[in-house]
Symmetry: C2
Subunit: 289 residues, 2 copies
């Protein structure tokens, strides 16, 4: 089960998930100008960062929107990036947040678990229904070592619009989503005790987060919101169980670290490495407390 591989990666390399949300404007201009196309420049930028961080980060999350925004050329860079992550023996999370039903969901499974855009994990949105949206992915999870992270509760302000609607029994919508997923996740448990059916849960450290973690305790978590969205190491701790069971994403905080730490822009990959180590150690320190 892929979740066991991710669990071991967390044990060995810490909790950091490096987010390759690579916008062309993030590239140092002296670096970017070496390449003929934006797509090529972005892939080479990612490659240097992967080289420097793959032994210090549990996995990489590639946000497809940034690549789609550059059209076919961008998606070539997306595909090359995923292949390179695999080549380095690392784990990829394709942040695609797709959500559809029936034959369309089947097509998304084929698209992102095989071929040009193959990743280890993908993110999904289950608004259209748990079984209807997820069914076509289950066979890949069981038999082809794939995993999913389904949106449960995000930490943006607008999350309040719907995710926090209470049902007649006073239960939040995100908690109803979590409940259905927790149930489904039982059939896809790895040896590590977590499931290859994971959840996306924003890091906000409060009572409510602790309660939610209790409700979805078999799910491995992808935790966004570190740094840029205001979360810190303290906010992550309630979502981990015995120090594992979650990876914490940071994108700009790592890949544009060179802009903040005063280093030579051409050393962007070294700056990313330092930012990764710092974040990894902050979380490890916090866990010891």
């Amino acid at each position: 089960m892929i979740v066991d591989k991710l669990y071991r990666a967390v044990e060995e390399k810490g909790h950091v998930c490096v987010g390759l949300d690579t916008d062309y404007s993030y590239l140092p201009s002296a670096f970017a100008s070496r390449f003929e196309t934006k797509g090529e420049a972005i892939f080479e930028f990612n490659k240097e960062i992967i080289d420097r961080t793959h032994d210090k980060a549990a996995c990489f999350k590639v946000q497809v929107a940034y690549y789609e925004a550059l059209g076919l050329e961008g998606l070539k860079a997306y595909s090359d990036t995923l292949k390179y992550i695999k080549e380095k023996g690392s784990i990829s999370i394709c942040d695609i947040k797709r959500g559809d039903i029936m034959k369309t969901a089947e097509m998304y499974a084929k698209a992102h678990f095989t071929g040009d855009f193959e990743g280890d994990f993908i993110t999904l949105n289950a608004y259209m229904g748990v079984n209807d949206s997820l069914e076509p992915f289950l066979d890949y999870i069981k038999n082809q070592d794939k995993g999913i992270f389904v949106l449960v509760r995000t930490s943006n302000q607008g999350a309040r619009d719907f995710q926090y609607i209470k049902n007649e029994e006073g239960k939040y919508l995100y908690s109803s989503v979590g409940e259905k997923l927790q149930e489904l996740s039982q059939d896809y448990l790895g040896e590590c005790g977590f499931s290859s059916i994971g959840g996306v849960v924003g890091c906000t450290n409060n009572e409510e987060g602790i309660k939610l973690r209790e409700e979805i305790k078999s799910m491995f978590l992808l935790i966004p919101g570190y740094g840029a969205q205001g979360g810190g190491a303290k906010d992550v701790v309630p979502y981990l169980i015995n120090g594992n069971g979650g990876v914490v994403n940071s994108s700009r905080g790592i890949i544009t670290a060179y802009k903040k730490d005063g280093s030579d822009p051409m050393d962007f990959a070294k700056a990313a490495e330092r930012a990764t180590v710092k974040m990894r150690d902050e979380i490890r320190e916090e866990l010891k407390k």
Copy 2:
């Protein structure tokens, strides 16, 4: 406003939205074998169908999942199909159901309203929050003649999982989604009285549907579920207002019509044309009743 163009298209050409959910297996083998790549074959198949139906259908909906499933080659066919729809003066709906926030949502807007994957309308999922998910699209709607259809209520069985959760006041989740969208839609009204912020609402003909339509009366609707998912002309009528304000999608019912009507497979485009005319007339007849 793009919604006015769509409104006029419905007036002139009827309510049919031809769904180009083109799976390679749908192509007659004698046709497919003429081309070197699957992507090329799919584009040429779409092209013949567009040629035959663009004056009998209001618009075309292209389901990106089918193209993503073929990787880069498939997305080239997707891009070519969208360009061809534009070349013919028709309206495209990119069925992408993306849903994300902040800079990622900005990237999706750029990806699908400009460049290789540019369409007139796109479909979106607002689970992460109305303003957070939709904000980056609004400027394109106002200033660049673009439109969106946001998922409100689907007609699949799994829709019950979350969309039908009642809040403390007994209001369905889909109705809360509709309410927020109806409010936002007011700032994007066209001359036709409908908004370029539209909704996706599955066609199920019942009291509840009539009530929902009343709640979101400014929204132009994209109505899936005709044919394959069991809906018929009767089920569509409650979602139209004075005979307009909605397009009805049929995909397989049109593009694989040749498999059912006994025609020569190579005449698939003529069969698609006949199926389009039949559906168009069924809806028009029903509206007269």
